[in-house]
């Protein structure tokens, strides 16, 4: 059975390593914070200017001066620190953040990502995504394997304007975990009960399948 958004977040949480600073994008990536293994210590950076982001505040305790990059009210953990945008992106561009998790509309088999613009239609802007994908050593894309029309989001080539080139290292979708390699999308794990065939069908870009593909353990 294909994963729901929480399932995707749960699987991504397994990628986190002890002592990592992590930037979580809006949407599915935000949910990753709910699934951190207790035995590891990671800190969350939000690019609007906080390191040590905590959970949402209790009702009535929201502070308009304390939000995350998704404009949501948040809290800060003990040891948190606030800083300005230039310093925030110094952290990101300078590769002090070990992992970036973000959503995408399209990813190509060479690791290009598109997630900020649909020409003539949606105008959102790239926010911090272009800085994040151009800088981070580890970039995991969290997304559905196909779009609302059932079309693959894992493509030979992105059709939408790019956010970054050759930068995505790993993709976790509702169907699979894939590494982006020089040869294409390498299938690593299947969602529980999802067949290799289903993944093949949902993947337009080059898919590499070597040996038995295990099910995710979530």
């Amino acid at each position: 059975m294909a994963l729901d958004k929480n399932g995707i977040a749960k699987r991504i949480a397994q990628e986190l390593q002890d002592r990592w600073y992590v930037n979580l994008g809006i949407g599915i990536p935000t949910l990753v914070a709910n699934h951190i293994p207790e035995e590891i210590s990671v800190d969350f950076q939000s690019e609007n200017g906080i390191l040590g982001m905590g959970p949402f505040p209790f009702e009535g305790e929201e502070d308009a001066d304390l939000i995350n990059a998704g404009k949501q009210t948040i809290t800060a953990v003990p040891g948190a620190v606030y800083f300005d945008s230039a310093t925030s992106f110094a952290m990101i561009r300078g590769q002090h953040v070990q992992l970036t998790v973000l959503g995408a509309m399209e990813v190509s088999e060479n690791g290009d990502i598109a997630n900020w613009k649909i020409p003539g239609k949606m105008v959102k802007g790239m926010g911090g995504a272009m800085d994040l994908v151009a800088s981070a050593d580890n970039i995991i894309v969290a997304m559905m394997h196909t779009n609302k029309r059932g079309e693959s989001k894992l493509l030979k080539q992105c059709s939408l304007p790019l956010t970054g080139v050759g930068c995505v290292k790993k993709i976790v979708t509702n169907l699979a975990v894939l590494d982006v390699t020089k040869e294409g999308f390498k299938l690593i794990e299947r969602a529980p009960g999802v067949s290799v065939e289903e993944i093949k069908k949902a993947t337009e870009g080059k898919l590499i399948i070597e040996g038995d593909i295990p099910e995710m353990n979530i």
Binding site: F58, E62, D65, K71, I92, G125
Partner: protein, 233 residues
């Protein structure tokens, strides 16, 4: 110390003219100079180029200026929350220059720091990099980005003293410091205005040298854009 105090938003903004380029601090609706934005609406200046990370929402923040068609061009990184913005942009009424958030912050800081240009990897290989010089450092391609300047920078701080030293609160800091450095003239509106010496000199986020005018804002709504909470267990 040099005294930068003016009486009000009216006094601070009175020389702002149509056609000018204005930087406005804030991220979303957090840390925006509410009082000066209201004053710009009153002043009816138009054809403005506004440099601000976001464009407010339909009826708050820079959305006010958009409603009144006072903005000719927006320079931002993310404008997803504003329907009126999207309408004006898609219809061609509004020019928009979208810039990666980190490059926007660094380009403001660069202007304030006398750095005319710098190289960054952000935007290489995308629309943002089109027409810009590409140079490879340590095997990685970068693009050349230039400093962003403005006739006025308008920022909002938590506390300030009469010589313009500023302290911000929480994530309301965001773009305010870098923009404060970049303005040809910088206006700071603050929630609390104190005498020089009342703020600890170790704890000031932006030294007064970057500020030309400072005043205590009349009132702050501080609207929350996405109120997210959890239940007590």
């Amino acid at each position: 110390m040099i005294n930068k105090v003016v009486a009000s938003a009216e006094e601070a903004c009175k020389e702002i003219q149509s056609g000018m380029t204005i930087m406005l601090g804030g991220f979303g609706l957090c840390g925006i100079p509410e009082n000066c934005i209201s004053e710009l609406v009153k002043l009816k200046v138009n054809n403005l180029t506004c440099i601000s990370n976001n464009a407010g929402v339909d009826d708050f923040g820079l959305g006010f200026l958009l409603q009144h068609r006072q903005i000719k061009k927006m320079v931002s990184s993310y404008v997803g929350e504003n329907d009126e913005f999207e309408r004006q942009m898609l219809s061609g009424e509004l020019e928009v220059d979208l810039i990666p958030q980190g490059s926007l912050a660094e380009r403001c800081r660069a202007a304030g720091a006398g750095i005319p240009a710098f190289y960054t990897p952000a935007g290489y290989g995308t629309e943002v990099g089109e027409g810009k010089e590409v140079r490879v450092f340590d095997g990685k391609p970068h693009i050349l980005e230039e400093a962003l300047t403005a006739d006025y920078a308008i920022v909002k701080a938590w506390k300030g003293d009469k010589t313009g030293n500023l302290i911000f609160k929480g994530t309301a800091r965001n773009f305010n410091p870098a923009m404060a450095m970049a303005g040809e003239i910088t206006i700071a509106e603050v929630e609390e205005l104190v005498e020089p010496g009342e703020l600890d000199p170790n704890q000031i986020h932006i030294p007064g040298i970057f500020i030309q005018k400072i005043f205590k804002g009349h009132s702050y709504e501080k609207r929350i854009e996405q109120r997210t909470t959890r239940k007590k267990d």
